[in-house]
């Protein structure tokens, strides 16, 4: 299959990756490196990740992006003023969910 997909070019020599090497998602590479049991002080791609933030996340309105002192307990959306709240009341549920997923909100219930 793969060999058919490749176009023949004069500058290429016949070559094929080992089957399990052609595509490895990042997660697999991460596991691969972890299993090597490298010395703890050795920097690798996966140890260079930024640390988690220690500053409490600021709250912004999901709709307008303005600072949001309020949250609707029903939809869990944050809003900045009454107008936004009113507009939220007529919002279809897929848009509400869209806003929530963009913010990375996942309810405990799922």
């Amino acid at each position: 299959m793969e060999a058919q997909g490749k176009t023949k070019r004069s500058f290429k020599k016949p070559f094929a990756f080992a089957k399990n090497c052609v595509y490895r998602p990042l997660r697999q590479i991460s596991n691969l490196e972890r299993n090597l049991k490298l010395p703890a002080d050795r920097p690798t791609y996966f140890t260079l990740n930024a640390p988690p933030s220690l500053v409490p996340a600021k709250k912004y309105s999901d709709i307008s992006g303005l600072p949001a002192p309020y949250a609707d307990p029903h939809t869990k959306l944050r809003f900045a003023n009454a107008d936004e709240y009113a507009s939220m009341q007529h919002m279809p549920s897929d848009i509400i969910n869209g806003y929530l997923t963009v913010r990375g909100y996942t309810s405990a219930v799922g």
Partner: protein
């Protein structure tokens, strides 16, 4: 260098790939690092196109995979775009091979039997050995290159800046990439790899964030909001807020909003757009035309039917004549032909057709029926006698207001009752319990104890109040009245505005506009507040503070004396000012720092790499085929701008 010939420099970024010879002033080839495989059903089409192309002289087999600039309409294949990258790491080697094929074909290697030039290739910071192994195998085994040199794009970019300005040995490089943002401390000209930190937020996230926001803000224009358009918006109109909170508060002000809002006009079709905005009169005119046309069709059909009937009647009459002339044999044969049972049946048929024709002729003669429009007008209520029309209309207006208010109150009550702990809900529970209690008392006594409930008709309203669903007879009646009122008002009162006509006031073009206001600062802000897109990582400012804290105070000072901004996202306006503000906040009082913007942030890595390749000692940084064969496939030569080689431990 002389032994190897010209060096091919490839800056293999996850957004854009730049390819060129080391001695050129700018890359010969720049393309989006993506490819697409046309779907099976389109293959034939593209194959034919390919065939015509080959006929015109390129001599190339029809390529079924399109790479980079070969993709004519990127939006059409957006869903099928493939990239070799996951974040800034190459994970799909088939795709990378296609990309190399594209690069080498475009650079004119077709016809040669190998790539006989050393290659300088950028790679991710702390690229896993597994990936480099694959890259080495691909380059040496498949393309047969003589030597390769790997380096980090941010360091090349910094190199480029130093060449143009002055040499420095310590720096804090902040590299803004498409999928990641790096904070890279350099001391004594050497990268402090263990203290580098990477924020997994970049241009890609900014663009996607804007894309999602706009889609949700304008669900109607879903198809008009494309990634390409959002990219353009991000590239040209977004900027980093120096003081985010301050600017947000400004945007909350309506005057500021009106003054600074950017409106993007989407393409729209004048005809269909205006169709929805016709005035009531024009609509009626259209409806009338349609009715006329329908009537005409109906008349024509009736005439045809009439003619048919007449012919039929003629035939039947002939038959009848046969019978009267006593030609029995002929008559019976004819009856059989017409599938008619007997003489009686024939008579009946003739009669029905006769009556049908008569009816049709009557109808044609009669005056055309009054149109329904006219009927409607006649039915339209007139002001009661003795009351002027204006007074009557005013009365209707107030009546309508009243109904609307009642409706709203009911709605309010309903929504409040839906939630617990509200006063309305508790009141409802109280009423229910009192009602239940009185019923119980009745039973306990064994005899009816009349509390007088129901004597008054209004008593029954209690049940209306505790009814959760207020769509009872009351609201139905109200709705009917409301409709009636609105009908009359809209008929008599030209200025009547029932709320729906608001949209008509807007022009068609305005309905096809995207408002782009707060987004211009909100979207790139995710670099500083990744929590906005649900990432738990520290923002850029926090990350810089974190990295600095890994060093003793004197080294911190050395680092912040030269802060360099590079990478595509460094082009955001206001970024330098914002970082200056953040550094001022995190650095000790009255200490100094300086921030430098690298010019041509998205190209400087390639230019720096070229400069490196032109150096006399470049050949020392090359990993040759011999090295590859001797030290294994993960080996590479370290140099000033490269990663640090840590061999994978043997089992």
């Amino acid at each position: 260098m002389g032994t190897h010939g010209k060096v091919l420099v490839i800056d293999n970024g996850s957004y854009e790939c730049r390819v060129g010879w080391a001695n050129s002033r700018e890359p010969e080839l720049r393309f989006r690092n993506v490819l697409t495989k046309p779907r099976k059903d389109r293959k034939k089409e593209s194959g034919q196109q390919g065939a015509t192309e080959t006929a015109s002289g390129s001599g190339e087999a029809p390529a079924e995979i399109q790479v980079g600039n070969d993709i004519t309409n990127i939006e059409a294949v957006r869903a099928h775009l493939k990239s070799p990258f996951e974040r800034n790491i190459i994970t799909n080697w088939n795709h990378q091979e296609q990309i190399f094929d594209y690069i080498f074909t475009k650079m004119g290697f077709e016809g040669q039997d190998s790539i006989n030039h050393p290659i300088l290739l950028t790679e991710a910071l702390a690229n896993p050995n597994f990936c480099r192994q694959n890259m080495n195998e691909l380059l040496f085994e498949c393309y047969g290159i003589p030597a390769v040199s790997y380096g980090i794009d941010a360091l090349y970019s910094w190199e480029h800046y130093q060449q143009k300005r002055k040499k420095v040995s310590d720096a804090l490089i902040i590299s803004f990439g498409y999928s990641t943002t790096h904070v890279i401390p350099v001391l004594n000209g050497k990268i402090q790899l263990e203290h580098v930190r990477r924020l997994n937020v970049g241009g890609y996230h900014i663009i996607t964030y804007l894309f999602r926001l706009m889609q949700m803000k304008y669900p109607v224009h879903l198809t008009a909001i494309t990634i390409s358009r959002m990219e353009k918006l991000v590239h040209e109109h977004c900027h980093i807020a120096v003081d985010y909170k301050e600017e947000l508060i400004q945007w909350a002000n309506m005057d500021y909003y009106d003054e600074h809002i950017m409106k993007i006009q989407l393409p729209y079709n004048q005809v269909t757009a205006t169709n929805a905005l016709l005035t009531a009169e024009q609509k009626q005119e259209k409806r009338r035309e349609l009715a006329l046309r329908l009537l005409e069709i109906k008349n024509r059909r009736e005439r045809e039917k009439l003619r048919e009937d007449e012919q039929q009647l003629f035939v039947y009459n002939k038959l009848r004549q046969l019978y009267e002339q006593k030609k029995v044999q002929k008559f019976e044969r004819a009856l059989e032909q017409q599938q008619i049972g007997s003489l009686e049946e024939l008579d009946k048929l003739i009669e029905t057709i006769n009556s049908r024709i008569k009816k049709a002729q009557d109808r044609a003669k009669a005056a055309p029926r009054p149109s329904k429009q006219q009927e409607k007008l006649d039915k339209m209520p007139k002001p009661p006698e003795g009351v002027s029309q204006a007074d009557w209309l005013a009365e209707l207006h107030s009546k309508r207001e009243e109904i609307l208010q009642r409706k709203q109150a009911r709605h309010q009550q309903k929504s409040e009752q839906a939630k617990r702990h509200t006063h309305a809900a508790q009141e409802r529970m109280r009423i229910i319990s009192t009602l239940a209690r009185s019923e119980k008392r009745r039973k306990a006594n064994g005899e009816e104890e009349d509390d007088g409930f129901g004597m008054n008709d209004n008593d029954w309203d209690v049940y209306k109040r505790i009814n959760r669903y207020n769509d009872d007879s009351d609201s139905d009646a109200d709705n009917e009245q409301l409709l009636e009122c609105e009908k009359i008002l809209s008929h008599y009162d030209a200025n009547f505005d029932d709320g729906n006509s608001n949209q008509q006031a807007q022009s068609a073009a305005e309905n096809y506009q995207l408002h782009f206001g707060i987004e211009e600062i909100r979207v790139p802000e995710i670099l500083f507040q990744p929590s906005m897109i649900g990432s738990s990582e520290a923002g850029l400012a926090e990350l810089i503070a974190f990295v600095l804290k890994l060093f003793p105070a004197n080294e911190q000072q050395r680092l912040v004396n030269h802060v360099y901004l590079t990478g595509g996202c460094a082009k955001f306006k206001g970024l330098k000012e914002r970082l200056a503000k953040e550094l001022l906040e995190m650095r000790p009082f009255q200490s100094t720092f300086s921030i430098y913007e690298i010019d041509e942030p998205s190209l400087s890595a390639w230019l720096g790499a070229c400069a490196q390749a032109r150096k006399s000692n470049f050949s020392q940084t090359l990993t040759t085929r011999k090295d590859y064969q001797e030290h294994g496939s993960e080996y590479f030569k370290e140099h000033k701008a490269s990663n640090i080689f840590y061999p994978t431990p043997k089992e």
